[in-house]
């Protein structure tokens, strides 16, 4: 019996000592818990995060968007990219792009809600607020221009035009608040962004009004950097560091000495033109983005001139269109003026080529080709995928989408 009592005492004693020695706290420094962001001092980084998410989504997409819209040709071994290049955009191949674009939209829109709640009365006076609206608006524009169907926050499928509606509203708020805070850069960017989404909704008059207010030399960029891999311009990675996509085989391969669509070639030690990563396709290297920190324009005065030119053509004003195109060309050294086309068809051809050069590798071409295809002025996308479908991850996880 004594032994049994000893047994009990020993056991309880040792277990108690073991327990007392435990500090049961788990630690994992690094990730921040959601509630820790609810402080005014966290707001600047929250808004920077919106910008980062937008750049990340854009920087990763412009390569595949370029392949789908004939801006680039495939020269590597990536299977999804090969599909984009032949005009097949499959739900299983768009998971990164879909989620990156959605994350850029959600982080800005959700961040704005958090900013309102945390900043209270100071929300509209906060210097970062107009930028937050601007990032939300550009994220919505990117989605509207590239995806086939709108899905908001796990909700049901909606018309893709929903994104343009949201973008216009956010651009308007960005413009209003930026103007009130005398932030000309953000105000011009908001005007330029709104001009485009107004046009895409058919409001060309409104588009021209906004576009005309943006200085011709104005550029507003998505920012990239070399500090961390996430900040890298992925197209530069694929074409400067690697040789995955080429200008060879696109219409831009026959355009020389145009600052809007620059490219070069590399020679091997034997003097031949270097081939792409696939070892076969000639590698013509885009040099619009020459480093991992090259920025990608979101709004440019040159694009505003092209919007106004397109509005003129839609009004049958070929001469007006040509004037605006030549104003745009004058912004780039080495380009000469073009003469007015004789026919409307020729005018469309000129306009589409010029707009293509202006927004080359900016993730915008697929939308232009898609809307012109619908209107019958371009056949490039006929028989090809015209937009990014809902990704398999969204289809599999969103109960509001019919299966």
């Amino acid at each position: 019996m004594t032994t049994l009592r000893n047994f009990g005492r020993h056991s309880i004693g040792v277990i108690a000592v073991l327990c007392a020695a435990c500090n049961m706290t788990v630690t994992n420094p690094g990730p921040l818990q959601d509630a820790q962001l609810n402080t005014p001092t966290a707001m600047p980084a929250l808004v920077n995060g919106m910008s980062g998410d937008l750049s990340f989504a854009l920087g990763n997409y412009i390569d595949r968007g370029g392949l789908a819209s004939g801006e680039l040709a495939e020269a590597g071994n990536f299977s999804a990219e090969q599909q984009f290049f032949i005009g097949v955009i499959r739900p299983e191949d768009v998971n990164p792009d879909w989620s990156n674009m959605q994350q850029a939209r959600w982080s800005a829109e959700n961040g704005l809600d958090r900013m309102k709640s945390v900043l209270g009365a100071n929300f509209e006076k906060n210097a970062d607020t107009p930028r937050a609206y601007l990032y939300g608006a550009f994220a919505n524009r990117m989605l509207g221009e590239n995806v086939c169907t709108a899905v908001i926050d796990g909700g049901p499928a909606q018309s893709d035009s929903v994104y343009f509606v949201r973008a216009e509203s956010l651009f308007t708020r960005a413009y209003t608040l930026a103007a009130a805070l005398n932030n000309t850069t953000v105000a011009n960017a908001a005007l330029g962004g709104r001009a485009s989404v107004r046009a895409w909704q058919g409001n060309w008059t409104g588009a021209v009004t906004d576009a005309a207010l943006v200085p011709n030399t104005f550029v507003y960029n998505a920012i990239f950097g070399t500090g961390t891999a996430r900040e890298n311009n992925d197209l530069a990675n694929q074409t400067i560091t690697r040789r995955e996509t080429t200008v060879f085989g696109t219409v831009y391969a026959s355009i020389f000495k145009d600052l809007r669509t620059p490219w070069d070639t590399i020679k091997t030690t034997s003097g031949a033109v270097q081939t792409g990563q696939d070892g076969k396709t000639k590698f013509f290297r885009q040099t619009k983005y020459t480093s991992l920190s090259s920025n990608v324009p979101l709004v440019k005065g040159a694009e505003m001139l092209m919007l106004r030119a397109e509005a003129a053509l839609r009004n049958g004003d070929i001469a007006g269109m040509t004037t605006l195109i030549n104003q745009q060309r004058a912004l780039y050294a080495g380009l000469t003026a073009v003469t007015a086309p004789a026919t409307t068809a020729a005018a469309w051809t000129l306009l589409q080529a010029e707009r293509g050069s202006v927004v080359w590798l900016e993730g915008r071409r697929l939308w232009d080709l898609r809307r012109w295809n619908v209107e019958g002025t371009s056949s490039f996308l006929t028989g090809r995928s015209k937009c990014v479908p809902i990704s398999t991850n969204e289809l599999a996880s969103n109960p509001n989408l019919s299966k």
Binding site: I15, C22, N28, N77, Q103, W106, S107, S397
Partner: protein, 982 residues
């Protein structure tokens, strides 16, 4: 007495208590001496434990089988002899007051024995009372395997164990599974205990360029291991608690034993060798076996490699040199020691690559007071591996050399200026350097104040660190300014483990054994990923040599797990045993709404062969056993909460980005196992058979459920939604087919049959690794290959391709392990061990990529005919099958898919062949014993898999899915080992 003096007196008393037994060596009493031999052959048995139950006296037999125990008190004394692989024996002798008494033991061989003990979570338990299967790899098996580490020892060793090598570079860690897969997200590696102390059971991060991990388990030298006990399923591991559903490996290193210092020296010399690489139809062996002269790829493109070695091949034999020196001994007072040191150098078969290990182990045991035993086990290992870029790396050896003219390393110096000129030797300037240090210390106190009560406290500290580097030097052909990646990794594991067992006879036929205990584990991880790009010039770079320096990730986590258990075993007539137990666990990684987790178990063991009615004449041993038990796996720290990641944005400004959406209801997943089986031995130990059926059901499985990306969090979130089923059979048959004084032949065969199936996993198909076409889907094995399938593979027609098809299980479903041991003239032993894995698949991504680059020889003929057809002559297509058309397509922009390259990877590997000759004493030149062994590992492979090696997989792509993506295959080794005992 002042407080100070009282304190001094206390410590003095403690010191006296500790050292008194050493000073007061047993001088009086009698001596029990004798010998231990094998029954039948009369061969002396080395290392048998001879003890006097109920006392702390004991000794081990030496090489000649002799033993001697001094200081034995007069009277009737029980003496017990036991050795793994033999039926223990007990005799009673009358010991006089002084002088010597002799007793001899003749032990029967028995692959299945019900005597002796095994180590469980509660401490030592008698084999006959354990209701679950236990497998042991014993000393003899270790010696004949020619293995250098536990991973090699486990491969093909016993049914229920699956080992896949992953990569062929020296130092690459393998994948180890016990009874298949019970978890999708939390890993399936078994828990590891070394000498009763729990150690880290994971792996290092993968090297960016080498793309394989290092397994700390392999830091234990095989020469230091006494035996390994394998505890396979949750029914047996319940009391080990959360994280034990992958099974438990108990490794016991060699311990000291009473007697004069006995020195052991083991010297090994040999070489690694690579046979033909890639498809047997490829005469150039992927341009590794032959790189000389002008070579041609499938489309006729000619190339030369100006840097091809003079031998005409990239391959050569890599030298192996190993040295292990150890001493063991002990005093009659119970102080024992075993100290060993080892050095192991193994070079690979390519121009660079090798593994260099140094280890030191000291095991000390002493008995400072009556009933108290203290064991201190310490080991320190330093390992360094040097390698080449491998796997899915643009600088990889396999990726570049096997592509022929398509190598990234174009260059100059070729004799023929009209062909593509390659300089592949430049890729060997990219270096993989891994350095690890591994320190384990454990103290185990066993206190047995009376026979009936045993208390055991084990405290252990396991420290692993690794410096994992990948250096692309300045001047590299592809990255001219160079770059460097370095991961600094540290893993600390502190554990305390207490168990107390009280046994008593409650009535003439009834006995009980009551155990309680607890464990606390603290796991710390520090891991930092660093990068430095663009060096200023040549030289040996450090992280500050580059103009661009990046901190890619920092991971610092501390997780605590604490649990308690209680177990009651009731025995009836020492024939029937019923055990019930429960384990309760708390884990600080759990979500807020989870508290203690409870894991119950019940098992029974019935030694029916001890019943009077049993025909013992034919079947002398038969134990029927059954068990049901739960074990679990915990989610990681912070898996339950919504988190944001600090990132940089706007070119270097601080920012936040979404990380994880969070799930406050998160808890551990649970696996319940039902196990039934028997252990039998017949015909005087000539035949033994062990059989187990197990049926595992994992419920509340932690499944990474994809969240709607439109909710802003792009990744998946762990949710307890899944069900996984995993069942199978294990059979181990050992038969002495011929037993004679001159020749003794023992054959053995193990079989594991495994059926894995996913239940509902959250109503979705889980993507494990999309590029590897690996998924988890309801009704299919976990995980499976899934995707596009050519429905008419052998037809001479265009492929009919259907989407969403099951392509095969990623892991084998059946493993046969045949073995044979032949002992001739009691001096020469030949041993062979094979392994035949069936039912698994691998994705031959080398074929997929190289076919597209017209550098996959099996596609050459089909591609020539397809080119001819593209030029207008389709006549050749009539002999090109649909599968060849899909795999070898030259219209690469349309139909290529990894799915077409998922292949059955059934293989037979001759894991080891050894011939050991015990040297006659006249040749030993003063040594007491000696043997020489000639051994080979992985000597022969038979497979229809067309890739480079059915076992390999790029571990940086994914550690659960398997994709043979330009991974350098495993080589074979030939060694000669001289072992001497002094």
């Amino acid at each position: 007495m002042t407080r100070l003096k009282r304190g001094r007196a206390f410590w003095l008393a403690m010191l006296l208590a500790v050292f008194a037994p050493f000073a007061l060596r047993a001088q009086g009493g009698a001596t029990v001496t004798g010998s231990v031999t094998e029954r039948g052959s009369n061969t002396p048995l080395d290392g048998a434990q001879v003890s006097l139950p109920g006392t702390r006296l004991g000794a081990a037999s030496d090489k000649s089988g002799a033993f001697s125990i001094r200081g034995v008190a007069a009277g009737s004394v029980k003496v017990r002899a036991q050795l793994i692989g033999y039926e223990p024996m007990e005799q009673t002798v009358q010991v006089p007051a002084s002088g010597t008494v002799r007793v001899s033991f003749s032990l029967s061989r028995a692959a299945v024995t019900l005597s002796g003990v095994v180590v469980t979570a509660t401490g030592e338990e008698r084999r006959r009372s354990v209701g679950t299967a236990m497998a042991t790899i014993d000393t003899a098996q270790i010696a004949r395997s020619a293995a250098t580490n536990p991973q090699d020892l486990l491969a093909g060793s016993t049914p229920g164990v699956t080992v896949l090598a992953n990569g062929g570079q020296p130092g690459s860690g393998g994948t180890i599974r016990l009874r298949g897969v019970n978890s999708v997200s939390q890993g399936n590696s078994p828990l590891i205990y070394i000498d009763g102390v729990r150690v880290f059971n994971g792996r290092t991060p993968t090297n960016v360029g080498g793309r394989q991990f290092i397994s700390p388990l392999n830091d234990i030298a095989a020469e230091d291991i006494d035996h390994i006990e394998i505890v396979k399923g949750p029914a047996a591991t319940t009391l080990y608690g959360t994280e034990a559903s992958g099974g438990v490996l108990q490794i016991f290193t060699k311990q000291g034993r009473e007697g004069a210092a006995a020195w052991n020296l083991s010297m090994t010399s040999g070489f690694t060798n690579m046979g033909h690489i890639g498809p047997s139809s490829d005469p150039n062996g992927q341009f590794f076996n032959n790189c000389s002269g002008t070579l041609t790829i499938g489309d006729g493109t000619k190339f030369q490699d100006a840097t091809c070695p003079a031998s005409g091949s990239w391959l050569h034999n890599g030298p192996i040199a190993r040295l292990n020196i150890g001493v063991r001994g002990g005093s009659a007072g119970g102080v024992t020691y075993q100290v060993s040191a080892n050095a192991d150098n193994e070079e690979g078969v390519l121009p660079t690559g090798g593994a260099f290990n140094r280890g030191l182990r000291a095991n000390l045991g002493f008995k400072p007071a009556k009933g108290l035993t203290v064991n201190i086990n310490q080991s320190i290992t330093n390992s360094r591996t040097i390698g080449f870029a491998d796997g899915n790396s643009a600088n990889g050896a396999m990726l570049n050399i096997s592509r022929g003219a398509g190598s990234n390393y174009k260059g100059v110096g070729c004799a023929d200026a009209t062909v593509v000129c390659i300089n592949n030797d430049s890729l060997f300037t990219n270096q993989i350097n891994n350095t690890t240090n591994h320190f384990i210390t454990g103290v185990t106190l066993t206190y047995q104040p009376v026979d009936a009560l045993t208390n055991r406290l084990a405290v252990g500290f396991d420290y692993n660190n690794a410096d994992i580097r990948y250096v692309v030097p300045f001047g590299n052909y592809r990255v001219p300014l160079g770059s460097m990646f370095e991961t600094l990794w540290q893993r600390q594991f502190l554990s305390a483990d207490f168990a107390s067992t009280y046994r008593r006879q409650v009535a003439s036929n009834w006995s009980t054994s009551t155990s309680v205990g607890g464990q606390v584990f603290e796991s710390k991880l520090y891991s930092t990923d660093l990068q430095s790009d663009n060096f200023a010039g040549p030289g040996d770079p450090t992280l500050v040599s580059g103009a661009l320096r990046l901190i890619n990730s920092v991971d610092q986590q501390r997780v605590i797990n604490a649990g308690f258990f209680a177990q009651e075993m009731i025995g009836w007539r020492d024939i029937l045993f019923v055990t019930v137990g429960v384990r309760m666990d708390g884990n600080s990684a759990f979500g807020k709404s989870f508290g203690l987790q409870t894991y119950p178990k019940i098992s029974a063991s019935y030694v029916i062969s001890d019943e009077a009615f049993w025909p013992r004449r034919w079947i002398e041993t038969m134990k029927i056993r059954g068990a049901v038990g739960d074990a679990g796996k915990a989610p990681g720290a912070f898996d339950a909460v919504r988190t944001w990641t600090p990132v940089a944005a706007e070119n270097g400004k601080p920012a936040f980005s979404t990380n994880q959406i969070g799930n406050p209801a998160l808890g551990p997943e649970r696996t319940r196992e039902i196990e039934l089986g028997f252990d039998a031995s017949a015909l005087d130990g000539r035949i033994s058979l062990q059989y187990s059926h197990f049926d595992d059901h994992t419920y509340k499985a932690l499944i990474p459920v994809q969240q709607s990306p439109s909710l802003g969090f792009s990744g998946s979130q762990l949710i307890n939604v899944g069900e996984l089923m995993n069942s199978g059979h294990e059979v181990m048959l050992t038969a002495e087919v011929f037993r004679h004084k001159l020749v003794d032949v023992t054959a053995r065969v193990g079989l594991m049959n495994l059926h894995s199936e996913a239940g509902n996993v959250g109503g979705q198909t889980l993507t494990i690794f999309a590029l590897g076409r690996t998924y988890v889907q309801q009704g299919l094995p976990v995980p499976s290959y899934y995707g596009l399938k050519v429905m008419n593979p052998n037809d001479f027609a265009n492929p009919i391709i259907q989407a969403n098809q099951y392509l095969g299980s990623a892991y084998p479903t059946r493993i046969w392990t045949p073995g044979l041991s032949v002992k001739v003239l009691d001096r020469i032993t030949l041993d062979m061990q094979g392994e035949w894995q069936i039912g698994g698949h691998n994705l031959n991504a080398v074929g997929y990529q190289n076919a597209n680059l017209v550098a996959w020889q099996p596609c050459y003929a089909a591609q020539a005919k397809m080119r001819q057809a593209a030029a207008g002559d389709s006549s050749g297509l009539s002999s090109v099958t649909a599968l060849e058309r899909a795999r070898c397509t030259i219209n690469t922009k349309i139909a290529r898919d990894y799915s077409f390259w998922v292949e059955a990877n059934d293989f037979f590997k001759l894991r080891s062949v050894s011939v050991t000759v015990d040297l006659p004493s006249k040749y030993l030149l003063g040594a007491k014993s000696g043997s020489i062994a000639f051994a080979g590992r992985n000597l022969w492979t038979s497979t229809k898999y067309t890739g480079n090696d059915p076992e390999t997989s790029d571990q940086r792509d994914d550690t659960f899915a398997r994709r043979d993506y330009y991974v350098f295959p495993t080589s074979r080794s030939f060694t000669m080992t001289l072992r001497l005992g002094f």
